[in-house]
């Protein structure tokens, strides 16, 4: 009798062990599951986005490092921006000009504008992007539409300064747009600002842009 009892117990226990082992292999929720040979999965060399362990040498334990201060990577000379992030720098940026060898015909300006700018400024620069519609604390009513004289006459250099450092509620977009991409976006902004202001209420301009106009006429 007792022999079969213990046999049953063995079977019971080994089933539990087996199922625990099986289920821990499967990735669900927080569990990444098991691998065959982790050595083949994770790079032994330092790679920025496949870091497994804390880096013992670099700051913050990260594989990525900042460039050595004062160095310029090859081909990145245009990242050097002499003007400072303050009022004086902003005023001085009037004289900045886009490099003459840029081509604007590739549609990159529009493409990038629709990624980085429309979220707030809207497709036509009327400040009716989804973020502005849903986040009232950003007070889009106080912002000028692109078709406004202010934006139309704003020197390109100043827009470049704003894209690089940010201004008021807008943050710096220097980490997502290369210098030449910034100039292409500026070119597209200027294209939008040259649009004719529609006199009659247009297709999908929300009330915020109406509020906009009133603040401007005041």
């Amino acid at each position: 009798m007792n022999n079969t009892m213990s046999k049953k117990l063995y079977i019971f226990l080994s089933t539990i062990v087996a199922s625990v082992m099986m289920s821990s292999c499967v990735s669900r929720g927080n569990n990444a599951g098991w691998e065959y040979a982790p050595d083949m999965y994770y790079s032994k060399g330092y790679e920025p986005y496949s870091q497994v362990d804390s880096n013992k040498i670099n700051p913050y334990g990260m594989n990525m490092r900042e460039p050595v201060p004062g160095t310029i990577a090859i081909g990145k000379l245009d990242y050097q921006f002499g003007l400072e992030n303050n009022g004086d720098g902003y005023e001085a940026s009037i004289d900045l000009k886009a490099p003459t060898n840029l081509s604007y015909s590739d549609g990159q300006g529009k493409h990038l504008f629709e990624i980085y700018c429309v979220v707030c400024h809207g497709k036509l620069g009327n400040n009716d992007g989804e973020v502005f519609k849903k986040v009232p604390t950003l007070k889009p009513g106080a912002w000028k539409a692109y078709t406004d004289t202010y934006i139309r006459e704003l020197p390109q250099g100043k827009i470049y300064h704003t894209l690089t450092y940010g201004k008021n509620n807008m943050g710096s977009h220097a980490s997502v747009l290369t210098p030449s991409e910034r100039w292409k976006v500026i070119d597209y902004v200027k294209q939008l600002s040259r649009q004719v202001v529609p006199s009659a209420p247009q297709m999908d301009i929300p009330p915020s842009s109406e509020a906009n106009k009133t603040t401007l006429t005041n």
Binding site: A32, Y49, V52, Y60, T137, G171
Partner: protein, 428 residues
């Protein structure tokens, strides 16, 4: 006046022994918002504060640090103020000198906080579940099984000794045993050769076990489909990409330029969250998740303009979900910029996910399946101009041996035909 005040404080703590329990209450009510005992938060970590500062200094600093800095001009106080970039501590004139002693007494005796999972940690890399509990469990099970085995042997031995002494009582146990098959199989089946039966049983059991084991090992082990880890900051793709309709590339900005789609730098978060703090949802407090961005950047939203960023940023340890093994090469820009694939092709409906989950297996078969059927959009795509021209020429020449040839004159070109099945394209 000052000396009288000092005398009062010193007499205060000679007479009353500071009450640490009351200190705990006061600490939680007044200090906990900005200070922790073992961790620097908005203000410094307070463990061992009684060793660093004199009691009198603490009383003056805590009760009115502004007066202490500006009127008394205490050099240590000014230095501390500057160390925190001019982020001033609140004034606590409601606390009596005795109260301050009580708080210090509490800090002196406070137990160390249990080491819970630190949400934002010095970048320890990405990864992974802690399996310690599982290993402990398995070890316990193994030990218990061994103990059970030993006990069973001991019991059998004891019974045999008992049976030798008292055969009548153990007659049943001493009787010749029936074999396993004789007992469990009906009639004449049980009388068959046990060796044959055993071999047969092994085949019956092991074939399906091997089959399912194999299937399990190729479909589940090292396949992270379904992996949906909790991230250090509960960023919702459903809110940002879904409701706010932000383009994926707003944050994953290098997807068109690089192998990696890239995790956004926190500066991208701050483009909006400098202003968006959701205080209206959290009774005037900054949303705890947004606060984590600020903590990681060492950013003080109340600080003076230009001095809001401190010197102690702590990178966020985002957990990587979609992970190809090191021996497989994948390039995002190749698929998104050149191949014009949408993010959702591989990542699923990210814009509906509150917590991102891996929805595809990312196994090689899954890649290959897609390469076999995906039409490459060769027209109007400068990356394929040479290929397109060649295909058009082949069709014009009616060259039926050309792989691009199709009878109806259209160019049919899948990723597989363009080298999408070459081993060395991804494994080199």
């Amino acid at each position: 006046m000052l000396s009288a005040f000092m005398a009062l404080t010193s007499s205060a703590f000679t007479q009353d022994l500071p009450d640490a329990d009351n200190g705990k209450k006061l600490f939680e009510a007044n200090c906990l918002g900005c200070h922790a005992i073992d961790k620097k938060e908005i203000g410094p970590a307070l463990r061992g504060i009684h060793l660093r500062r004199t009691p009198e200094w603490l009383v003056q600093w805590i009760r009115n640090n502004e007066k202490f800095r500006k009127v008394t001009k205490d050099p240590d106080a000014i230095a501390l103020y500057n160390e925190y970039n001019g982020a001033a501590m609140n004034v606590f004139e409601n606390l009596t000198p005795v109260n301050v002693q009580e708080i210090v007494e509490y800090i002196k005796t406070a137990p160390e906080a249990p080491k819970t999972a630190v949400v934002i940690d010095a970048g320890d890399g990405t990864k992974k579940e802690d399996n310690t509990n599982l290993y402990i469990l398995l070890t316990l099970v193994a030990i218990l099984s061994i103990v059970l085995l030993i006990l069973a042997r001991v019991k059998n031995t004891l019974r045999r000794i008992a049976a030798e002494k008292n055969p009548e009582e153990y007659a049943e146990w001493l009787a010749p045993k029936k074999g396993f098959f004789e007992k469990s199989l009906p009639g004449k089946w049980g009388k068959l050769n046990p060796t044959v039966l055993t071999l047969f049983a092994i085949v019956i059991v092991s074939v399906p076990a091997l089959y399912y084991g194999f299937e399990f090992s190729i479909t589940e082990v090292a396949v992270q489909k379904g992996y949906a880890p909790k991230q250090p900051i509960a960023f919702s793709h459903q809110l940002h990409a879904g409701q706010l309709k932000m383009n994926c590339q707003y944050c994953h900005s290098s997807v068109e330029k690089s192998k990696q789609a890239s995790i956004p730098a926190l500066n991208t978060c701050m483009n909006c969250h400098k202003g968006v703090q959701l205080t209206e949802k959290y009774n005037g407090e900054i949303s705890p998740e947004i606060k984590k961005i600020y903590t990681a950047l060492d950013y003080n939203p109340e600080g003076k303009e230009g001095e809001q960023y401190g010197k102690n940023p702590r990178p966020v340890r985002w957990i990587r979900i979609h992970n190809l093994p090191d021996h497989a090469y994948f390039n995002h820009s190749q698929h998104v910029k050149v191949g014009k694939q949408s993010c959702q092709t591989c990542h699923g409906a990210i814009e509906k996910m509150e917590v991102v989950q891996q929805v595809n297996t990312l196994q090689m078969g899954w890649c290959i399946d897609c390469h076999r059927v995906s039409q490459v959009d060769v027209a109007n795509n400068n990356y394929y101009k040479a290929l397109h021209d060649k295909a058009k020429a082949d069709i014009a020449k009616n060259n039926q041996s050309s792989k691009y040839f199709s009878a109806d004159g259209t160019v049919k070109l899948t990723a597989a035909m363009n080298g999408g099945l070459e081993c060395s394209k991804c494994h080199y």
